[in-house]
């Protein structure tokens, strides 16, 4: 345990944190799947309105995706622009 430097500990914990942050991808996946399924059944019921259904579905999916992207941004921050590490090195 003595060989672990402080920076090494911060980097390791940041990597674990980035992995945990990406669990946020589960929710948007489920949500987009539900939206796509309902879109498919709507096209089956009314094939004439395919254009409108497609645009509404894509818009809803993109909005549902946002929460997953928050997780992605946090993971990228932890991996490549780590605020914790730069704070420690400045002190």
């Amino acid at each position: 345990m003595n060989q672990i430097t402080n920076e090494g500990l911060i980097l390791a914990c940041s990597a674990i944190g980035a992995g945990i942050a990406m669990i946020a991808g589960v929710g948007p996946g489920i949500g987009q799947g539900i939206a796509a399924g309902h879109g498919a059944s709507a096209v089956g019921r009314n094939p004439g309105a395919k254009g409108d259904i497609m645009s509404t579905m894509l818009l809803g999916q993109a909005v549902a995706e946002t929460t997953g992207l928050y997780g992605l941004v946090i993971a990228l921050l932890l991996l490549y622009a780590n605020p914790l590490l730069s704070k420690f090195l400045k002190l």
């Binding site: 430097t5 645009s55 894509l58 992207l69 992605l72 590490l85 090195l89």
Partner: protein
């Protein structure tokens, strides 16, 4: 004293290790590069790759617009060639805006929405020609979102006058803080959505190019580019402009 020296050594090895991690031989390169430093009110700021790519895209759009203007000045009754493309583009954008907005003022938003749409679309697919997509820089997307939300709030005040303030207290006054946060959250969500999507594409593509053997980087990445640059980029340009129009229409109707 020994302790301090040991600590300093530890710190140095730590820094060395971090630099080794960050700049190893096959480092993944999707960062914004600082090209030309200059002095801005006593602070050193940089002309980055984002600025250069944006400038290239703007020059491209301006040249296209000038050529299109020249063509339209000498328009023919039966369009052919380049005039066809320009008319198709303008008509598509007009139909897109008129389909998404309501009210008699929708004609005046074709210019704004069309400009934002073309700029974001060209930014997103600029990865195809080897540029680093400017929308993968949070500075760009934050500014775009600020412009759009400024437009939304301008319409809110223009159409609702005093009700713009009282609407914040609906349906019950105790929800005022939440309504206020909701207005500002639009900036964050609009900008982070665009940034996150394009950044994810950039990271994926640079990871593939760096970590795969050279043989695998010929031909195969075309599929990745088609999905991550073209499809995802077009969807995000569509979503950004569509959400802007939805917000504006929402405020117009009170």
């Amino acid at each position: 004293m020994v302790n301090v020296a040991a600590n300093a050594l530890e710190l140095q090895t730590g820094v060395g290790a971090m630099q080794a991690v960050l700049s190893s031989e096959k480092s993944v390169d999707f960062f914004i590069h600082e090209l030309i430093p200059y002095n801005f009110f006593g602070q050193t700021v940089y002309i980055t790759t984002t600025h250069v790519c944006e400038l290239l895209i703007i020059i491209g759009i301006v040249i296209f617009a000038l050529v299109a203007r020249h063509k339209i000045m000498h328009a023919e009754t039966v369009p052919r060639g380049f005039q066809n493309i320009v008319e198709l583009l303008v008509e598509t954008l007009e139909k897109y805006v008129h389909g998404a907005m309501s009210g008699h003022e929708k004609k005046s938003y074709v210019n704004y929405v069309g400009t934002i749409m073309l700029f974001i679309l060209l930014c997103n697919i600029s990865g195809l020609v080897g540029l680093r997509a400017p929308t993968a820089d949070y500075g760009t997307t934050l500014c775009l979102a600020l412009i759009s939300v400024g437009m939304v709030q301008y319409n809110n005040i223009k159409h609702n006058k005093f009700r713009a303030v009282t609407n914040l207290f609906k349906p019950i006054p105790i929800l005022f803080p939440i309504n206020l946060i909701g207005e500002f959250a639009n900036i964050i969500s609009l900008s982070l959505r665009l940034f996150g999507n394009v950044m994810a594409g950039t990271v994926m593509i640079s990871l593939y190019y760096t970590l795969m053997p050279v043989v695998a980087t010929i031909g195969i990445p075309a599929a990745l580019h088609a999905y991550l640059d073209v499809f995802s980029g077009a969807i995000q340009a569509y979503v950004f402009t569509m959400l802007t129009m939805v917000f504006i229409t929402d405020k117009m109707e009170g």
